[in-house]
């Protein structure tokens, strides 16, 4: 490297330092997608597809590799049919929501392997997914609530901040709600909701709204 080039490099580096004070955090990069996203549209040749054909097509279009786990899930995936408009095409960015809706309609969920975006997902029964200890659901912070809400069938654990009201006061009333898919843990300042992402996001938002604002003191009239 000659002297002029080195000087130019030095000036560039100093300019970069000047725009970002020492110790200041680097600008936040957008977090990667949760799942590997399809890059090609799916052209539909038949009005009706088996669910395993749709899942295979999802992978072929650039989506994640799919593993079906468990005999019951495999039977369901092979037997389930998904109705689509023949002759049409599903755009690449619409394919994952279509797949996830079809899975949840048949009481199936997705569990992502490690990595963002996940290159491998497992399809398993929604019932009992909470108790399976194979791979923990993805953990997402409050800044990814909106992103989570775009996934109907992907299992996540969402941390949602709530107001100053004690979340523990909600525990009993919420457990009486009878929901099966979303599980809630209450912690100081936040709730942890585990379940299919959209439902978890809905539950998190609902609890955040209920618990927002300062603590209230009720007195009997």
């Amino acid at each position: 490297m000659n002297v002029r080039a080195a000087f130019a490099l030095l000036v560039c580096a100093l300019a970069a330092c000047a725009t970002r004070p020492a110790g200041a955090p680097r600008p936040a990069e957008p977090a990667p997608a949760l799942l590997r996203e399809p890059t090609r549209a799916l052209v539909i040749e038949r009005r009706e597809l088996a669910l395993d054909e749709l899942l295979g097509a999802w992978t072929d279009c650039g989506g994640p590799d799919v593993v079906v786990v468990g005999t019951e899930a495999r039977t369901r995936v092979a037997a389930a049919r998904v109705e689509l408009g023949a002759g049409a095409a599903i755009a690449a960015d619409a394919l994952t929501p279509v797949v996830e809706r079809a899975l949840l309609a048949h009481e199936l969920v997705l569990r992502a392997a490690p990595g963002r975006p996940a290159a491998l997902v497992a399809v398993e029964l929604a019932a009992g997914s909470h108790a399976r200890g194979s791979l923990a659901p993805l953990t997402l912070g409050p800044e990814e609530l909106e992103r989570a809400a775009r996934h109907a069938a992907l299992l996540v654990r969402l941390v949602v901040p709530v107001g100053a009201r004690d979340p523990a006061t909600m525990r009993d009333s919420y457990l009486l709600d009878g929901r099966e898919r979303a599980h809630v843990a209450f912690a100081p300042g936040c709730v942890v909701v585990e379940g299919p992402a959209r439902e978890a996001a809905d539950v998190g938002r609902q609890l955040a709204a209920l618990l927002s604002g300062p603590p209230q003191v009720f007195t009997r009239p």
Binding site: L9, L55, V67, A113, P114, R132, L135, V159, G189, C190
Partner: protein
């Protein structure tokens, strides 16, 4: 004098790699997994390509010999992702890995989670530091144990509360509060550890924010910070 800061500004920052934990050898090339392959065949192919010694007990062998991967398509896995990918497949099917011998040449055991085990035949978790989390992210099926200090959280209350979202497989996945140290000891698969540490750190940050908001009068910078 200026050269050193210049060079450090130009060189991208890399977190220190997880030192001290045994690294498994990567295959020399990408591996192909057939959709109809049995798990034992995938594991055998990985052992052949990497030279890593693997041991499987009788009950687990039965599981691996009868279980197909469940993949819907033949898959080509890049060499650098081979262990993560294959371990994910094993974990999805209820298997867990551990080191039987940690010193080179290492010996890795693969066990079914379902089997009943005596203490002598149970896998021993790999003790690690939170700074070594990257290793567990790369090895989602390895049984490990880390302790995590949570300065802003009542760990006893939190561990009780998290039972609602904690995996129910108490043989391998546990959260134990170390009350006086205000720390939580996490035992589980690599994926479980990585995700749980992230979860607990997020909860701890929210607890700190909530405490800040409760202490600071409304309208102060501290209250605004706590509300973020």
């Amino acid at each position: 004098m200026l050269l050193l800061p210049l060079l450090t500004a130009l060189v991208p920052f890399h977190a220190p790699s997880s030192t001290g934990l045994p690294e498994l050898p990567a295959p020399k090339a990408s591996i192909t997994i057939a959709a109809d392959a049995k798990l034992i065949e995938v594991l055998g192919a990985l052992a052949d390509q990497t030279g890593q010694a693997l041991v499987v007990d009788r009950d687990t062998r039965a599981l691996l010999e009868t279980s197909e991967t469940g993949l819907l398509r033949d898959t080509k896995v890049p060499a650098e992702l081979a262990w993560t990918y294959v371990e994910s497949l094993l974990a999805f099917h209820g298997a867990i890995c551990s080191f039987e011998v940690r010193e080179a040449p290492t010996l890795v055991a693969v066990r079914s989670r379902a089997g009943q085990r005596t203490p002598a035949s149970a896998p021993v978790p790999l003790f690690a530091d939170v700074a070594q989390l990257a290793w567990f992210e790369r090895h989602p099926a390895f049984l490990g144990r880390v302790s995590l200090e949570l300065p802003n959280t009542d760990v006893r209350q939190l561990v009780n509360s998290l039972r609602a979202v904690q995996s129910q497989n108490s043989a391998y996945d546990t959260l134990i509060n170390a009350g006086q140290a205000n720390a939580i000891v996490i035992t589980g698969s690599g994926a479980q550890i990585a995700q749980t540490v992230e979860l607990l750190q997020l909860v701890d940050r929210q607890g700190k924010a909530a405490a800040g908001a409760a202490v600071a009068p409304q309208g102060t910078p501290a209250a605004a910070e706590g509300a973020k």
